[in-house]
Symmetry: none
Subunit: 218 residues, 2 copies
């Protein structure tokens, strides 16, 4: 899960980033509006934004209504001032939540978790004519469901979770057969990849000799 932190106080950024990363979130942070806009425009996948309202080069509310709202990215506003009108305004604009500084990091974490749980959006990964539905754990070729066996599905899931990145053969063995004590033959992996390619088509999974396999997103 990707969280974007927009806040001009470096101390807060450092503290929050640390806390969020401890909870397995991937965190990026920006300290002004300008950088944030650039970031938003080049990053299609952001799951949540924590947004300070008062920033050196502008105002978080405007940023929200002009760039964030239309993309439906859940947002938590922060303000230093305990201003009733601002809270009401922020919430009515469509923010998911609103906290005033000083706030408790644990509370923010709890609220973030809540929002992300609630907003679990459908996650579809598409590569060429193959669609991996992470929620249903279902793979489509075009519009037809591919009949994959449990282990085929697991391996493909692993590859899709690491788009554009090589997954080593040893990693595959470790992750897929961890319960058995990873006692399977190395060739077994090869066979499964053959079977996967039979069903997916030959152009989805790339072999990286000496290392493993990889799926490239367009």
């Amino acid at each position: 899960m990707h969280i974007l932190l927009v806040e001009d106080n470096i101390t807060i950024i450092k503290g929050l980033s640390y806390a969020l990363e401890m909870n397995n979130y991937e965190v990026d942070s920006k300290i002004n509006i300008k950088d944030t806009i650039a970031y938003l425009e080049s990053n299609p996948f952001i799951d949540l934004i924590v947004l300070d309202v008062t920033l050196p080069d502008g105002n978080g509310f405007d940023l929200f209504s002009n760039y964030i709202k239309k993309r439906n990215i859940p947002t938590i506003f922060l303000t230093a001032k305990d201003s009733e009108e601002m809270i009401v305004k922020g919430l009515n604009m469509g923010a998911e939540d609103y906290l005033t500084k000083p706030f408790s990091t644990k509370e923010l974490l709890a609220r973030i978790n809540k929002i992300l749980l609630r907003n679990q959006r459908v996650q579809l990964l598409k590569v060429k004519d193959i669609t991996f539905d992470l929620d249903k754990m279902l793979v489509l070729k075009g519009s037809a469901t591919l009949p994959l066996t449990p282990i085929e599905l697991k391996i493909l899931h692993l590859l899709f979770s690491n788009l554009n990145r090589v997954v080593r053969r040893t990693t595959i063995i470790d992750k897929i057969w961890e319960w058995t004590g990873n006692d399977v033959d190395d060739h077994t992996v090869t066979v499964y990849l053959k079977r996967l390619r039979e069903k997916l088509g030959t152009d989805i999974i790339v072999t990286v000799k000496g290392l493993g396999y990889r799926i490239d997103a367009e």
Copy 2:
């Protein structure tokens, strides 16, 4: 829209009732746990609860987990103390929001509006000829009530709460048999699914081999 206010401070009750009624909500209020339980049991339609945690005859958290949570009524906790642990606990229990006193009435109103808008909730989940009524906790096939046993109902509820998402067998065991220490046999799940399919028809629940089961909304 019906809002229930549980709070032992009469001044707060009066202020909030007035503000809420000005906003076209119908408000009832209770000042202790005992009365609240009686009220809950005789009132099937409550849209939201504002619940003080510290009450003269008990604790709002217990009330919530024993009487409110299972009915899926959105709840906002209030506490006098600004206690980080309590906030986190309350949110993680499943409360929709948490405010600490003193709070701004306008902010509470904004948060209530938000929750009610968000939760304009579907109380009837329909999949093919099966209807799951979350309020009454009963299941219809066509227009006939299905006689489900308690455990069958729980499992189906779990599946319906996760439409379009795989529910793992381990999750089923965890959630359904948590009270026993999850000591049930894995096959038991299989048998219950067989029984469910017998009653629902075979085309409602999809098996995801190696993982679990899933119900797809159309």
